[in-house]
Symmetry: C2
């Protein structure tokens, strides 16, 4: 089996589900740490900061430093920075997105924005959506952290950021640039953070339509685990299959060590 | 020129613009009243009640009784009533929609809804959208008052109900039934209210994509006036043209009387 110089590791369904660690998650990360192989946790979650996510992982027994967490918010802030340093950004989103944008040197504004950025916002309002529409119509670039249409919660599948973003897209007729998985944008930036080439890295995740497609689009090998959203049965008919399929990360570790 | 037994008359851009009457509006309505020709004001506006809209028209000098106003909210309530009497409805919307649904005998509920109904709601929230998604996923019928993607306001084009509805459509993958213009549903119900056949009625409006298309789809002749959204120049390339095109309602009255 090929040896990889770096790993990109999904969170929800791969490292944890809700408030519980996924079986094998901590062993897998301990294994990477033992091998001194660099890795990043790669998540479409735009609402939390690196500190908050690392704290959650540590609480669940998965060793993580804040700088090992790369979110769709950070990728969005980096993407915009490449287009324009210290951009004026009108943002709809939560703490993780606000912090990522300001940490990268952008200014959050209420009008005359260079970019409108949308991430999941559980305090969404008509006023916020209206302002985003007006700014996009005035010519601001339109960027969305991720296209996820639904989020699994204990109440059921609730609207994801892709669904919220559609209000502005439908109203203005302008398509946003999506940054998160499965788009290559977040992958390119994560590889840059790892300072590795695509063909030396393995993407690990549970969701075929985000994690695995993201890897495929970016030329990164993929390991799909069946501990989260997608099942091997569901994806049987797809032409493009993950590089590896394992029931869980224990099975991967056994094969990898053996 | 053909004589019509009844008229369907758009409001915004045809009878008024913002808080001002459109030139010729009151004369046109006086003319219909003089001829004792029945007519309905037909609007996609779901937020206001019949009383509120009639009051606005009267204030602007356009004679109107509440029962002469037929909104997308009333058409929605009537449409649902045909599917199920006294339905359980989870509603996102404003006063006009709430009142129309309860006036038609439906019950507004927070869960186990037969139908989810969405109309423009300037107090939209994530919680409301989440509940709508959960109910649609559980099998509730999904109905939206109208598909307008943007509303003209003095601040610019703000999100319309079609844009808000897209959150639930995109998140659940279920397409809603739209009721308002240009859909035939509102036209069929308005003709029923007038107790007239389609080919005896004239639809009067300023918006090609709602008023005029609604008439065409329903087999109703159309008069397009250039006092609102669409211009004759813009619609030149369309294969299907309004039955009549007049700069304003004065021009129509002159031709009609002369």
């Amino acid at each position: 089996m090929k040896h990889y110089q770096g790993y990109l590791v999904d969170l929800d369904g791969t490292m944890y589900k809700g408030e519980a660690a996924v079986d094998g998650a901590s062993h897998f990360i301990d294994h990477l740490i033992g091998l001194q192989v660099p890795f990043l946790f790669l998540t479409n979650n735009s609402s939390r900061t690196q500190d908050q996510i690392a704290a959650k992982l540590n609480k669940l027994g998965v060793k993580a430093r804040p700088d090992q967490v790369y979110t769709s918010s950070l990728a969005t802030a980096d993407f915009i920075k490449e287009k324009k340093e210290q951009a004026r950004v009108y943002v709809i989103g939560e703490e993780g997105l606000h912090k990522a944008l300001t940490d990268r040197g952008h200014t959050l504004v209420e009008e005359d924005a260079d970019f409108v950025v949308i991430g999941i916002d559980r305090e969404i309002s008509y006023t916020k959506l209206a302002r985003a529409c007006l700014e996009v119509r005035k010519g601001a670039g339109f960027v969305s952290t991720n296209s996820d249409t639904a989020i699994p919660t204990d109440k059921g599948m609730l609207p994801g950021n892709g669904a919220l973003t559609s209000v502005v897209a439908v109203s203005t007729g302008v398509d946003p640039t999506f940054v998160g998985k499965p788009e290559p944008i977040i992958m390119e930036r994560a590889l840059k953070e790892l300072q590795l080439q695509a063909d030396h890295v393995l993407m690990v995740g549970d969701n075929y339509h985000t994690d695995i497609l993201a890897g495929m689009k970016a030329g990164v090998d993929t390991l799909m685990v069946e501990t989260g959203l997608s099942s091997f049965h569901e994806i049987e008919a797809h032409t493009h299959q993950p590089t590896y399929k394992k029931l869980n990360l224990h099975e991967w570790l056994n094969g990898h060590k053996g």
